[in-house]
Amino acid sequence: MLTVRNLSVSYGDLTILKDVSFDLTPGEWLMIVGPNGAGKSTLINAIVGGAPARGSVRFEGREIRSMKPQQVARSIGVLAQSHAVGYSFSVEEVVRLGRYAYAPTIFSGHRGEEEAIRKALEETGLYEQRHQNVLTLSGGELQRTFLAQTFCQDPRLLMLDEPTNHLDLVYQKQVFELIQAWRRREDRAVISVVHDLSMARAYGTRALLLDHGQVVVDGTMEEVFSDEILNRVYGMDVRAWMGRMLAQWKEA
């Protein structure tokens, strides 16, 4: 589905990403993990053309750079970690923009638009709130609104840049469960940048560990989350730390 080859991003002398290569097949949920500054968000940006990059990114055989923005949006949905909406749009108006890439022509009209919007609103549990002003939503509801927008795009691949960073535990679970259900139901792929290694492990089918802009390891969850690799990249005993955190709960 997605083939990334030798993707590099530099700003002047500063190299953010260096020769990143990986493949993605339908049904996978690839977790991109790594310490701060590893280049995780830049990788997401570079894949959809949001950062000046060298190398090749092909979606179903086609170079993404040669695709029109609307074609890219029909193939790949991107969910950012936070949203600062400018004006008091309604939930439905924000979700409706997910259909922008399916702009009507004289021949097609708005075929399927209302159905897609309704489905996305229902899937994310926002149908009853569809007329609500987005400026009055909680962080979790706002993130679900934008998730509904990406569902509405009906993409084959969903890319998430730390989608639950500002959310409490309830909303984190809610958003990840929604994405999990969508991925399984539609047999689509997901790439997400996550900081929380437990969440990555719980939901990912594969992981790619980045450090200093380079791929350290790309493999199964067991391969990537090995003690030796994690300890080396994060510079600490990750398992011991996680164990200590969990032990506090067990003791309580």
Binding site: V48, Q70, G77, G86, S88, F89, L97, R118
Partner: protein, 344 residues
Amino acid sequence: MTERNGERFRGWEYLLFAAAAVLTLLLSVCVGSVGIPFRTTISVIWRGIWGLEQPAGTAPAILLTSRLPRVLAVMLVGASLSLCGGAMQGLLKNPLADGSTLGVSSGASLGAVIAIAFGITIPGLPFAGTMVMAMVFAFCSLLIILGLAYKLDFSLSTNTIILIGVIFSMFASSVMSIVITFSGEHLRSITFWTMGSLQGSSYLNVLVLLFALLLFGGVILLHARELNAFAIGEENARHVGVNVRRVKLIILIAVSGLIGVCVSIGGTIAFVGLVTPHMVRMLVGPNHKRLLPASIFGGSIFLMLSDLIARTLLNPKELPIGVVTSIIGAVAFVFIYGSARKGR
């Protein structure tokens, strides 16, 4: 079910706004230093449209050669500036944006001031010198602002554009002050022009404004959906498939073209583009499919009423329209912005 029609401006809303605009137009035409009865006004305009013989008296001359072209020009300038303001506020996701924020108004003003100060005219078309210079300078300003923004920030981010726009406005104002210093006997007309005036507008002015509004305004209206995406966020606009750089360029060119024409005819009329979209947004919401058409009507009504006040408040003396819009606009803006923030 979701409602697609709810997104658009409904027929009865068009009728309501249009009726309010027409009523304001008729009021503006009737009232002035010489009051003309409503029925006479309707009759004279009707006869004027169909080329019928006019009744005796001064009313036809006052209405058809002086007041009507002026009020029509005011209406179109108000509509254009308000539309530009609404588009800029959406495009830059900034409620403080309008043509002046972009620096285009200042650029156009500089062009017009140079034309007046140095007596630049086009043979046979006395007002065209100012207009052409204003338009040329508006476009050049845009090129300079975008060129600099592109050089500094490849993605043409809105913050960069606004920052360079503000700096360019200051620069253009300084150059304008230098030109005014050396303007000699043209000083009075330049000073009056910079305060904004549509006194003495002709039907040719009206036609030029109408053409500009249809052309550039049409382009802006066709991009209502993209403006919604920008108003939600530029990054999000890119993710849903908007060709961000292309759309931004198209809107900026349309806005600068329209503002260039308006400034050349009416001078710098402040606050119309800033305040009216805010007022209209409170009525119809932020969706540009509704906001932009409503801004056209709202801007025309706002400026016609401002012009009416400018003409009648100190009768027989006349205030520059820009002074009236600044006073009303500044107070209204503080009120609207304050209540909008509370509403959040």
